[in-house]
């Protein structure tokens, strides 16, 4: 049975995360194109990425990228590794565990200045400390 099993959830998360990353990519191409309008305009768009809400959205993007990338490796292994199909469920668990493990340092770096401002946790980048 496929419905409700690991394969279904992997397929669903893969699709949703892929579409989310694509939406970000389109926005990102537009925001980088502001480079053509000079330093003042471009730095104003960088300020936008510094806001707490956009940092939280960046964190959601990190989760989507981690899952999509790692599950992509799982899909390739299912297709090209002889034992891939046999271990697909185990590989799904490994993908989830790796997502959680990699998410923790990623969250620390992405949210650095916010953690420093709100919880007084030392910031990962010296330049990003509150001033």
């Amino acid at each position: 049975m496929y419905k409700g099993k690991a394969g279904m959830w992997a397929w669903l998360f893969h699709r949703v995360s892929g579409l989310g990353i694509l939406v970000f990519l389109l926005l990102h191409i537009v925001d980088v194109s502001i480079l053509s309008f000079g330093p003042t305009a471009y730095n104003a768009s960088v300020m936008l990425f510094d806001s707490v809400i956009v940092r939280l959205l960046s964190l959601a993007l990190v989760v989507a990228i981690l899952f999509h990338g790692l599950n992509g490796v799982r899909v390739v292994l299912i297709d090209f590794w002889r034992k891939g199909v046999r271990y697909q469920q185990t590989m799904f668990v490994i993908v989830i565990v790796l997502c959680v493990i990699l998410f923790i340092p990623a969250a620390y770096y992405v949210m650095g200045p916010v953690l420093n401002w709100f919880f007084h946790i030392p910031a990962p980048h010296a330049a990003a400390e509150s001033h």
Binding site: G7, W11, R15, G18, L19, I21, L22, L25, L26, I29, V30, V32, S33, L35, S36, G38, P39, T40, Y42, N43, V46, M47, F49, D50, V52, R55, S58, V62, I65, G69, G72, V73, V75, V76, D79, F80, A106, Y109, V110, G112, P113, V114, W117, A123, P124, H125, A127, A128, E129, S130, H131
Partner: protein, 139 residues
């Protein structure tokens, strides 16, 4: 003949575009894994977004290596992502007329965004006054 439209079916062997698409997802996916990892580490780990300013970009893009790197990220990311959206449209849109419209819009969007990104990367020339190295820090 079974038409394979989801990336998770058996390996298509009929040839043609769907077979190419199936391999392209996997090959571009592996390449993107490396490109995206390097990109995310540079933009979020070794730097904070506060310091990914115009000055930072102009120093990076002074090196042609990063222009090529960013262009690969742009083209592989867009073609991989838009091909994914094509499959989603094929999966959910039943009406051939609506599907043709959506796929046409998709093709135009792909072209427009590849051009916008490529023009930005090729024509970028650092301004003389490139601004501060970091911005923000309001909280």
């Amino acid at each position: 003949m079974i038409r394979i439209s989801s990336g998770f079916g058996p390996r298509p062997s009929a040839g043609g575009f769907e077979t190419f698409s199936w391999y392209f997802f996997r090959v571009s996916g592996i390449a993107l894994l490396l490109l995206v990892a390097v990109h995310m580490i540079i933009m979020h780990v070794t730097n904070d977004v506060r310091c990914t300013t115009y000055l930072f970009v102009s120093m990076r893009l002074a090196n042609p290596f990063w222009r090529v790197f960013d262009w690969l990220l742009l083209t592989l990311g867009l073609t991989h992502g838009m091909n994914g959206l094509r499959i989603v449209i094929d999966d959910y849109v039943k009406s051939p007329r609506v599907r043709l419209w959506l796929l046409s819009i998709l093709a135009i969007l792909l072209l427009v965004f590849i051009m916008l990104g490529t023009v930005t990367l090729i024509t970028f020339q650092a301004a003389n006054a490139a601004g501060p190295s970091c911005v923000g820090g309001t909280y």
